[in-house]
Amino acid sequence: MFGIYLKRELGRRKKAALVIALGLALGIALVITVNSVSAGMTQAQDKVLKSLYGLGTDMTVTKARSAPTGNSSGRPNFEFDAKSDDSDEEQSSDRVMTQGGQALKAALVTKVAEQDGVANAVGALTLNVTKVNGSFTQGKAQSTTGNSGSQGQGGPGGGSTAAPQVQGGGASFDVNSYSVAGVDVTDQTLGPLAGMEITSGKTFTAAQTNAKVAVLSKSYAKENKYKVGKTLKISGTKYTVIGIATASSNESTTDVYLPLKQAQTLADSKNKVTTIYVKATDSKQIDTVKSTIQKNISGTTVTTSADLAETVSGSLSTASNLATSVGKWLSVAVLAAAFLVAALLTSSAVSRRVREFGTLKALGWPSRRVTRQVVGESMVNGLLGGALGIGLGLAAAYAVTAISPKLTAQLGSTGGGGGMGGGPGGGPGQQSTQNTMEIALSAPVSPTTIALAVGLAVTGGLIAGAMGGWRASRMRPADALRSVS
C-alpha cells in the first residue's frame, strides 16, 4: 500500500513534485559544479607547484635572502671586443648565474637529510643562462669637404682633419635567456626532474655524475631544434643531448637539465646548490619538519607547498578564491533556499490533504504510518532532485572541462634567496622573479562529490519530509470530520 499510495500521490502532484525536485536539483548541481571547479583549481595549482617542485617534494630549502654586498649587483655584464679590421665577425658571450645569485653549501643537503622527519633530501643548482651573440658593423667616416672618407670604428672616433661624419654601422645582437638545472643524478626521485617524463632518449644514469650530457625540455628542444644526439653548447662547453623530457603538468620552467657537478662547474659554484628538495616521512608532519629545519639550520628559508600556494596569483588565484568563497556560499544559499522551498511546499501540500490524512487516522492509521507516507513522498522528490542535480552538475562540469578556460598563474615574487617561489625563468640577476603559467581549467567530479550530492538529496528530502510529516502527525482524526462541516 505504501508504494502504491506513494506512486499515485506523486503522479497526481507532478507539478509540485517537479518544482521541489528542480529546486533541489539546482542547489545540488551548483554544489557539484562548485566542488568540481574547486577540485580543478586545486589540480591546476598542484600542477603549477609540481612544475616547480617536482613530484614527491614536500618542501624546499633555499638560502635566506640577504642584501647584495659590495659592487655585486647581480646583474650580468657582457664584454665584446671592438675589432680593428673590417670584419663583421659574429661574437658570442654566455653569462651563467645561479638563480637569484645566492646558493647554499652542498654539505647542507646531508644535514637536512639528517633532520627528524625528513625521509629524503636532494640538492639541485638552478642557473640562468643569458646568451648574447651578434656582430658589430663598422660605420663609414665621410668628410664633409668631399675628401675620401676614412673608416672609423664602431662609431665616432675615426679622426679626420676635415671633421668627417660617421655614416652607417651599428650592432645587431640576439639575447637568448634560458634556465638550467643541475640535477643529482644519483637520486632523481626528488628534484627538478622528478616530475618530468622522458619522451625521447633517456634520462641520466647514476654513473653520469660529471658527464657532459644534457636532458632538454620538449618545448626548449623544439624551439631550438635540438634532438637526441645533438650537441648543446653552454658557455663554451659542449653537452650531448641524451633525452627530451616533458613535464607531467604540461608546464616546464626548466629548459636544460645537467648533472649537478657540470652545472656547478658552469656557474663556478663548486659544492653549491640553490635548492634542497625535501620529502617528509609523514605528509601530516610537514609543518613540524619545516620548523625543525629552520631551527637547526640557520640562514635558510623553508618553503612548503602551502607557502608556495599562497604566492600563486593571477586569474587562477582569483578564480580559486571565487570558487572557495563566493561559490561555496552561493551553493550554501541556494541549497538552503531549495531545502526551505521543498519544506514549505511539502508542508503546504500536507495542509491541503487535511481531510485525507484525517480520514486515514480515523480509519486507525497510526501517526507514524501517516508520517512515513509523507516522508516517503518527500524522499522520492529529494532523490529525483538529486538525480536531476547530479545530471545537471555533471553536464556543467563536463562543459567546463570541454571549454577548458585558460587561467594564468603568477608564481612567486621572491626569487633568489626567497625560497621556491622564484622558480627558474626569471631574468638573470633579478632579486625577485615571477613566472606566469597558463593552465587549462578542468572540473573533475569525484565519487565523493557524487556521494555528497546524494547525501544532500536525501537530506533535502528528509528535511522537507520531516516538516510535512510533523504537520501530518499533529493532525487529529477529528479533522477529517471538521473539514466537512
Partner: protein
C-alpha cells in the same frame, strides 16, 4: 455497549470558550441504532467524534465495552478505532488517487492484513455493496452514490463492532439517499452492528428506533416504538 457519562466538550475560540457538549449522559446497547439530530452547531458531530474516539471530552467518560476512550493512550485509541469502529463521512472522504478496491484496503492496513488477503476482502466488501464491477475505478470515475458505497465497504470490511455515519446521505439526491439508507439498514441487520448516525434529514430520523436530539450541547432522547418502527421500515425498504 457504549456508556457516556457527563460528557462535556469545550473549545477555545480566541478568548471565548464554546461549550459544544454539556454533561451528556447516554447509553447505547450493542446492536442498537441511534440517530442524532439537531440544528447546525448544536453538537451532533462533536458527540459523534466522542463516540468514535476521534476526539476526547473535556470532562466525563466515554466507555466502550468498559474501556474509557477518554483515558486510554493515543496508540490504544488508534488501535481501537482500527479494530472496532467503522466510520462513514458525509463527503465520502475517499483517497482520490487510489482505486475503489485500494480505498477499501486502507481500512485493513493498520490491522496488518497481508496484501493478498487485503485485496480479496476489499473485493468481497465491494461486491457486497454492489460494486463488484468497479474495483479498479478511481473515485472520480464513480457517481456520488457509488462513492458512498465504497465508503460503506471501507467502513465494514474490517467487520467492526460499531458503525458511525456522519450525514451519510447529505451529499446525495433523494433517490440515492433512499438507496444508501436501505443498504445501511440492511447491513445493520445483517451484521448486528451498533449503528450511530448523525443526520439533518427528518424523514430518516423519524424511522430510527431511538432518536437523540442535540440542541445547544444538551441531549434529549426519544424512544420511538421499536416494533412499529421496524415494521414500517421493512415495508418501506421492501420496495427498494
Amino acid at each position: 455497549m457504549y456508556r457516556l457519562t457527563g460528557v462535556t466538550k469545550r473549545y477555545s475560540r480566541g478568548k471565548e470558550t464554546v461549550e459544544a457538549l454539556r454533561g451528556i449522559d447516554l447509553t447505547i446497547e450493542d446492536g442498537d441504532q441511534l440517530v442524532i439530530q439537531g440544528p447546525t452547531g448544536g453538537g451532533k458531530s462533536t458527540l459523534l467524534q466522542m463516540i468514535g474516539g476521534l476526539d476526547r471530552p473535556t470532562e466525563g467518560s466515554v466507555e466502550l465495552d468498559g474501556v474509557d476512550l477518554a483515558r486510554i493512550s493515543e496508540a490504544k485509541l488508534t488501535r481501537l478505532r482500527a479494530e472496532k469502529i467503522g466510520i462513514i463521512f458525509q463527503s465520502f472522504n475517499l483517497i482520490p488517487t487510489l482505486t475503489a478496491q485500494e480505498n477499501v484496503e486502507t481500512a485493513l492496513v493498520p490491522l496488518g492484513v497481508k496484501p493478498a488477503e487485503r485485496r480479496e476482502r476489499a473485493a468481497e466488501a465491494l461486491r457486497s455493496v454492489g460494486l463488484g464491477e468497479r474495483l479498479g475505478h478511481a473515485p472520480a470515475e464513480l457517481s456520488g452514490g457509488q462513492q458512498q458505497r465504497v465508503a460503506i465497504a471501507r467502513a465494514l470490511v474490517k467487520k467492526p463492532k460499531v458503525l458511525l455515519a456522519d450525514e451519510p446521505t447529505g451529499n446525495l439526491d433523494e433517490s440515492m439517499r433512499d438507496e444508501i439508507m436501505a443498504l445501511l439498514e440492511g447491513l445493520w441487520h445483517e451484521y448486528g452492528l451498533t449503528f450511530v448516525m448523525v443526520t439533518h434529514d427528518s424523514s430518516i430520523a423519524r424511522r430510527a428506533p431511538r432518536l437523540a436530539t442535540i440542541k445547544a450541547g444538551q441531549i434529549t432522547l426519544t424512544e420511538q416504538r421499536r416494533q412499529q418502527q421496524q415494521q414500517q421500515q421493512q415495508q418501506s425498504y421492501a420496495q427498494y
